[in-house]
Symmetry: C2
Subunit: 410 residues, 2 copies
């Protein structure tokens, strides 16, 4: 195996792909069904073909590179990630996983010939939910979670119709194969960590045990706007007073849960938001994540207690939960393959939880799934500063290659 | 004295003036040097003339109605308020004081003839600071506090030049008398309370002891934006966490000061303000008011302690004070006249502090000044729902008339 040659090829592809949708400050913006997105998927499709995989689109714009197995009746080994990005995101989020799968599979074929089982490398069309109020559009259509939904009223922030955008790029018209797959054996995804746990510990590989569950809430604290000078403190219905206490309790309680629990108040809107007026209304979001639903339940119950304690005759608090993503466990037997490999190679590694969502959580609810992480420098992601060292990129590809070999050749 | 006739006349004038700049939902918008503002000042000028006062503009657009005194060398008794409004404000804020002074003075002349001392009723051109980043433009020019300032770069929110706006209405060009006055004996202002203290206590008249001092601050809490899912709680530099604690402490401490102290966090901006990103920066305003500088100092010192306690290696807090208005005491001898009148008339009244700013605080720093309040229903002000009962309006006019009589005829 010519390691030097391979990593040059991988990093060159990463850099070349990042030129499609490149932003002024070195980031990447490739939103679903835009010209940049389409150019990227066509580039991936070409690269699949150039490396001997059989390339094809499905009808929502996922791109496949297939290597047929000798045993055609056996279910398919799927590997890959996504090439859409957030606005002004990085070069590695998603793209690394797609290109790493391509490199791993093309090397396996070169070294070992045709696999027993068919391998599909996939470049998912959409994972981020950055343009339309959808996410996991690609993996969701593969697994059927979007079935029966009506997309006629879905629009992007500029009011452009989702269906028009899809049709405009030739998808959703029945020209390609249906995205739904019933023939999958398993899914393997390699991704950058997007956090700093591996880097802080000086480790090269993360073997994901579970992808966290996530609940999101909007809190609305309603008091009464009034003059900041003429309203005595004991006559106020100050929404900011109650909101600040509630936010502090919510974050503090997040700190008091176990080390894997996270709680974030990321967005706040104050009305009327004027220095000399007592706020009559404060709304804010809360995002909580953990890999066990029972732990989320404990926090959720505490949250309701805080709301009851702070609600009064003066100030009303309402809570609306607008997202409830359940935790998804990765397949233990696949984790074991990664673990044995890391030990055998004397890699520094850890079992960990993914705090971010990934296509692996959608696939993982349907088929045995494996998710591996490589370190993100300073944990930075969704940013032009997103970076992973070349050596770490290479470690990930080798681990991925080993797992796919075990799944498709043994 | 024909009481019925007089109050009808006052309320009719209030209603008629409110038609100038009337908004769709029954409020009033009259911003400095707009067409509506000019029409209102011309209307006031006409009403001055119709009721026997000698009307004239000064060079910034303050309108006077003068009654010459028999003793011309004695300093002038000034009374009035302002006719500019906030955006979609009420009918009474300012306008009531101007029209009440007009009614009181014209009645005095009718009943008692020419006064010993000259009385000027004034309709200040500007008090609210609603259009340009100025306030007390009218009373400030009378007393000289704006001297030496350069207004060439002052603009409204639409980018329209302050000087162009003033010149466009014929002011600031030397066509009228200089606004600065050196010949004033005293100032008497009648105003709606804009709070609910009088109404809650069932009282008719407020005799203001002091107009509060006011300090405004902008706090900037700077941490680091990061992924809400992949950043463990103990690795976060969460600006919202610190900001919520600080806001809570600031408001709570406001509650623990004496009953006249108020503290308001009215405006907050969160960056990047996205549900799934830990806030890297939170800025918010704090407005504190009290009638004693020493009390403001105590709180201010406590504020700095909180900032020191909550600042750390992870999160920095900066505080910028952008406003410092000192408390202004009203003249005790004038309060005593109001007090004796209220007792003699068996009015329910109280001594109180003004939490809002008024022209009386600008005049009060230069000449003996008296500020009286009548109740605001539900304490609502700066709103189309601002309202004061006709009987309360009438009580105010009678008290004002008595005080002016004592000052100008005795």
């Amino acid at each position: 195996m010519d390691t030097g040659q391979l990593t040059v090829s991988l990093t060159t592809m990463i850099e070349d792909l990042a030129k499609i949708g490149q932003t002024d400050d070195g980031g990447v913006t490739r939103l679903l069904y835009t010209d940049e997105w389409f150019q990227a998927q066509q580039t991936i499709k070409n690269w699949f073909g150039e490396r001997g995989l059989t390339p094809f689109f499905d009808d929502i714009g996922n791109v496949y590179g297939r290597v047929e197995g000798t045993n055609k009746e056996e279910p398919v080994v799927l590997t890959g990630s996504h090439i859409d990005t957030v606005v002004n995101g990085g070069k590695y989020d998603g793209a690394y996983g797609v290109l790493a799968s391509l490199v791993a599979v093309s090397e396996l074929v070169k070294e070992h010939g045709q696999p027993k089982r068919t391998i599909d490398v996939i470049s998912f069309c959409e994972e981020e939910g950055s343009r339309f109020p959808l996410n996991f559009w690609g993996s969701g259509k593969l697994t059927g979670i979007h079935e029966g939904k009506d997309y006629h009223n879905v629009q992007d922030i500029e009011g452009k119709s989702f269906l028009d955008a899809m049709h405009g790029k030739g998808f959703g018209l029945g020209h390609f194969q249906e995205p739904l797959r019933q023939d999958l054996a398993c899914f393997v995804e390699l991704h950058i960590e997007q956090g700093a746990i591996l880097e802080d510990a000086g480790e090269s590989l993360g073997i994901v045990k579970s992808i966290v569950g996530q609940r999101r809430f909007i809190f609305t604290v309603t008091g009464e706007s009034n003059h900041a000078g003429t309203t005595p403190m004991n006559k106020r219905k100050d929404a900011m007073n109650i909101a600040s206490q509630l936010v502090h309790k919510l974050i503090q309680t997040g700190h008091e849960m176990d080390e894997h629990f996270v709680a974030t108040v990321g967005q706040m809107t104050v009305t009327p938001n004027t220095p000399n007026v007592i706020p009559g209304k404060v709304t804010f979001t809360l995002d909580i994540r953990h890999h066990r639903s029972a732990t989320l339940d404990v926090y959720h119950k505490q949250l309701n207690t805080f709301v009851d304690e702070l609600s009064g005759s003066d100030v009303a608090i309402s809570v609306q939960q607008y997202s409830d993503v359940i935790p998804v466990d990765m397949e233990e037997s696949l984790q074991a393959i990664a673990h044995d490999y890391a030990q055998h190679q004397q890699l520094s590694y850890r079992y960990m939880y993914s705090g971010a969502g990934h296509d692996a959580q959608i696939l993982g609810a349907k088929v045995p799934t494996c998710l591996l992480f490589v370190p993100s420098v300073k944990g930075i992601s969704h940013s032009p500063y997103e970076f992973t060292n070349e050596n770490d990129l290479h470690v990930g590809v080798k681990a991925l290659k080993h797992i796919i070999y075990q799944l498709a050749y043994n």
